[in-house]
Structures are given as structure tokens and as C-alpha cells.
């Protein structure tokens, strides 16, 4: 048989994703799984998945998982990690989950320097519930709960989560990445890997924000969605490493 140069990572079950065509969730799942494979920690990894489009991620990840309540994944992960300090614990969260209802939990997990990793999927909208405004929805962006466009005068400007968490000592690694093209995918994977390594070396909390598309609720084709992300999200949410123990910025 032919040698296989690229295949599904072991940490991903061989089942189809329920995500919409072109949704970046699938790519991000795969990157996480690849990192876990490469770090050889599948055997001691416990994933905590959110309420959001990735609510069924426990069907996809091939390691132990917990399904947390909406927004509370960092608290749940804290409970897990404190019971098994030698395990590798991560949360996978959307922007509604992490930045809206779960704002206190992520801030405090970061402040505590909780030794967990967070993969934060920012698609500027609530996917699962049908396209409502998120704290990360861009100004003027139309969603079903900002039908006249997000009005910063009434609801403020979007929250930049990385920048906010960077003010907390316990957060040791903070990066914002995207998976809009192969080069950025490589950087994204490197950042996710780093975020797991930080945890494994016991340094503290690490988070990687991944800019992501929601073609369905943005009302675009997958390719249009990528272009929209590049044109609209990237300027407001600059990619880069905001904090790292090596002190490398950007």
C-alpha cells in the first residue's frame, strides 16, 4: 500500500463533522488533534467542549472529553485539571461562549494562571443559535440581533479578547491566528502547539484565538467568507503573539 503523507490524525475519530460546508471549525479541530498527536499526549488529554456549533466536538475528538455548560468551560476545565494535574486539559470555545456569557470564567482562569489551554474560535457571530450578535461582531455588521448593523454607540465596540487577557499575569501565552490560508494555518498550528507546551511545562494559562468563518450565518459562500474575514476581521483583530514566556511580541 502507498505510504500516506497526510491523513486524519489519531486524535480525530473517523466520523463526518456536522459543520456547514467550509466552516473553519473543522480545520481547527484537525489542528488541535494533530498537535495532541505530535505531543503524544492523547492518552492523558481531557478536552472540555462548549455550547456552540462545536457542541458535538466530543463525537470527533478521540480522547476523553467533557461537555461544559455554555460559557463555563474554563471553570469545568479547572475542576478537571485540579483533579488530574498531570493531564493535559484544554477548552475549545466560541466567541459567544467565551467572550459573552463566559467572560468571568475565562478572565479568572487566565488570572489564576490555570494550567490549561484554551482554543478560542472567533467567528464574530453566534453560529449555533442562528447568527446573533457576539461581543466580537464588527461595527455595522448585520446579524439577526443587530438587524440594522452593530451600532457601537449603543452596544460598544467589539471586545479584543487577547488584548484584554494580556493584562493578566497568569496568562503566559496569548496569540491570535487565522486559518485563512496555508501559511496562516501553519502559524496557527504552531501557536496551538506552543499553547499546549506552556501548559505542560506548568507555566500557566495559554490561549490561542483563531479567527474563523461562519459562511452560513454570514450569508456567504465559504470562499466569500474567507475573503470577508481577511478584509474585515483581520484589520480589527490583528494576528500575532501578544504574550509569550520568551517575551517575543508579535
Amino acid at each position: 500500500m502507498a505510504e500516506i503523507a497526510f491523513a486524519r490524525p489519531e486524535s480525530l475519530h473517523d466520523v463526518p463533522f456536522h459543520y456547514c460546508p467550509g466552516c473553519h471549525h473543522g480545520i481547527i479541530h484537525r489542528l488541535v488533534a494533530e498537535v495532541i498527536d505530535e505531543l503524544k499526549v492523547r492518552d492523558r488529554t481531557i478536552g472540555v467542549v462548549p455550547v456552540g456549533c462545536s457542541v458535538l466536538a466530543y463525537n470527533y475528538f478521540n480522547f476523553d472529553t467533557q461537555e461544559a455548560a455554555h460559557g463555563r468551560a474554563p471553570a469545568t476545565a479547572t475542576g478537571v485539571k485540579r483533579v488530574h494535574p498531570d493531564s493535559v486539559v484544554f477548552t475549545y470555545q466560541g466567541d459567544g461562549d467565551l467572550a459573552s456569557i463566559g467572560c468571568a470564567e475565562i478572565v479568572h482562569a487566565a488570572a489564576r494562571g490555570e494550567k490549561i489551554t484554551t482554543v478560542f474560535v472567533n467567528n464574530a457571530i453566534y453560529g449555533m443559535t442562528g447568527g446573533q450578535m457576539a461581543p466580537t461582531t464588527l461595527p455595522e455588521q448585520v446579524t439577526v440581533t443587530s438587524p440594522y448593523g452593530r451600532d457601537p454607540e449603543k452596544v460598544g465596540m467589539p471586545i479584543r479578547v487577547c488584548e484584554m487577557l494580556a493584562t493578566l499575569d497568569g496568562a503566559k501565552f496569548i496569540a491570535r491566528v487565522a486559518v485563512n490560508n496555508p501559511a496562516n494555518m501553519a502559524k496557527a498550528k504552531a501557536a496551538i502547539k506552543k499553547a499546549f507546551e506552556i501548559q505542560m511545562s506548568g507555566l500557566g494559562f495559554a490561549i490561542v484565538e483563531v479567527l474563523s468563518t461562519c459562511p452560513t450565518n454570514w450569508g456567504m459562500t465559504p470562499l466569500e467568507a474567507v475573503a470577508w474575514l481577511e478584509k474585515n476581521m483581520m484589520p480589527y483583530y490583528p494576528l500575532g503573539i501578544f504574550k509569550t514566556p520568551e517575551g517575543v511580541a508579535k
Binding site: 492523558r44 457542541v55 467533557q66 461537555e67 470564567e105 479568572h108
Partner: protein, 355 residues
Amino acid sequence: MAEKILMKGNEAIGEAAVVAGCRHYFGYPITPQSELIEYMAKRLPQVDGVFLQAESEIAAINMVYGAAGAGARVMTSSSSPGISLKQEGISYIAGAELPCVIVNMVRGGPGLGSIQPGQCDYFQATKGGGHGDYHNIVLVPNSVQELVDYTILAFELADKYRNPVMLLGDGALGQMMEPIAFPQGAAAAPAKPWATTGLRGRKEPNVINSLHIQAPDLEKHNIHLQAKYKTIRENETRWETYKTDDAELVLVAYGISARVALSAMEQARAAGMKVGLFRPITAWPFPYEALAPLAGKAKAFLAVELSAGQMVEDVRLAVNGASPVYHYGRLGGMICSPKEVLGEVTKIMQGKEGK
């Protein structure tokens, strides 16, 4: 059993948890249970346990979810408003069938209310403060020694049934001191092959979850839960009776009120009235079947509780119309005295019953 020591109720719960093998506690301060969180802060590090003050009650209950799902014997505690905040989390824990112990040292409500003792969270604890068809096992101790004993039992039952167990006390029980003795330990936690510990060689990943996205699946899960609740009802219903054999009037009371009622009963007996006391020890499952037969014998029942009338509904459900059921309650943090209860008893015995 060791030498008797004098301890506050809240602290006794903490030590009992340690005796029961609890090594993880997540909580948030609130009067009148703060002595418990403070005890854990001091005590758990001494036994290599984990104490963590959560950022909120919500975070605390979700940490409990995580820790319980990871296989630990874990506890949280709070008082009324904080317990309300935990309701979503409790429903998740019940749905995911995780064992844990939740302590509510009830205070006067509603809202911010007062910091004085109350029993006005009975409905919340027993009928479902959270959403969905689920039940906590609810233990209602009435002395500091019982706080100890039932804290230990709580951990055992939680593990046995993979179900949240609530210890429903009140500010008075939590803050009073009585002599107690601690048993040597609790039943060891059973194996938890379902826990998310990391695979560690296991083949199939474990998933802790309360989502069943297909309604037929969720119905199946609910039927399983209801079957479990039935087993618990059959095996774990607990109560105590005092002089109910010849009682014409049966007082029904739990927790601190049961002590007041006991005093009132003794005084009534002393005055020649045939009064007995029925004391539920599990509020859920409520001892309907134990109480029902008394309805054939007693002429009336009087529920005594620090609420506007919550447990009395369970008494009515048990008595099922066979005898009149009266209610006497104090509200908003006030505790009733034996004398007041005696007054009610006398009225009923003389046929001048109140409400």
C-alpha cells in the same frame, strides 16, 4: 468513634467531608456558611487536598462538574442566593449523572433577604430549582452530629447513584456548636470507569455530557434517570418517628424545626396531649409511604417549618386527604419557639385549628 469534640455545624461538615475522603472543594463565600469554606481553606491543604475559592457560585458548581466528571469526591457549599445561581449547573450535573455534594445553609429570602436561618428553599431543593426532570437526593440533618453523619452519607449516596446530593441545612445548624464524634471513615469511593481521567491505556474515550440532541435519545436517558430515581426512592428514603404510635396529632418537621417540634411535643405530652413527631431525614425522596399509614391513625397533622408552606405540600400528598393537614411557619429568618408550636398544637387539639 473518637472522643467527643465541640464544633460548629459548618466546620463539622467540612471535617466530615475530609473524613469521607473529599479532597476537592470549590466554593464562594456567603453568610451563613462561610465557616465551611474557611474550614476547607485551612484543612484541605493539610491533607494534600485542593481548596479553590471560585470567582462565583456559577464557576464553583462548574468546577464541581469538571472535578466530579474527572472522578473526584467533590463538594461545594453556599447559602440561598448562591444556590439559586448554581441551578443551571446542578441540572447539568444531574443530567450528566455526576456524583457530588452540595451544601445549602439556608437563610431568609427571597432576594437578598437576611442572613438569619430559614427553611424556605425546600421546594428549590426537592422539586427542582433547575430545569428539567431531575432530582437531587436531599438530606435534612437536625443536629451537628447529623451534619457529620449525613455529610458522610451524602458522599456515599452520590457515588452509589451517580447523583448530586444536597445537604439542606440552615444558618442555625451551621453556626451552632454541639459535641460530636467522627467515625473512622466512609465507604471507599467505588471505581469510576466512566470518569474522564485521560485515556491512560483505556480504549474508548469517556465523555461527560448531558446533551442528547435527538429527542428520542433524550427521552431514553430520562427514562433511565426516572428508573434510577425509583430505585433511590425505594432504597434511600429515611425518616424518624417519635411517639407516633398513639398520637392523635402528628407534627411533621425536619432540620432545626424538628428540634423545636420535638420540644413542643414533649411539652404537649407533659400537658396530656397525644402528640407525636414525624421527621423526614430525606426531603427527597420524601417518606410518603412511611407517613401515609399514620394518616389512618392520627386525627390531624401539623407541618412545622420555617417557610410559608413548602414541605406541607409533601405532607398533604402523603396524607392524601385522609386527615386534615395544618401548617405552622415562621418567615424571613425567624425561628419558631416550642411555645408557639405548643400553642398551635393546643388549638388543633381543642378543635380551634388555624389555617
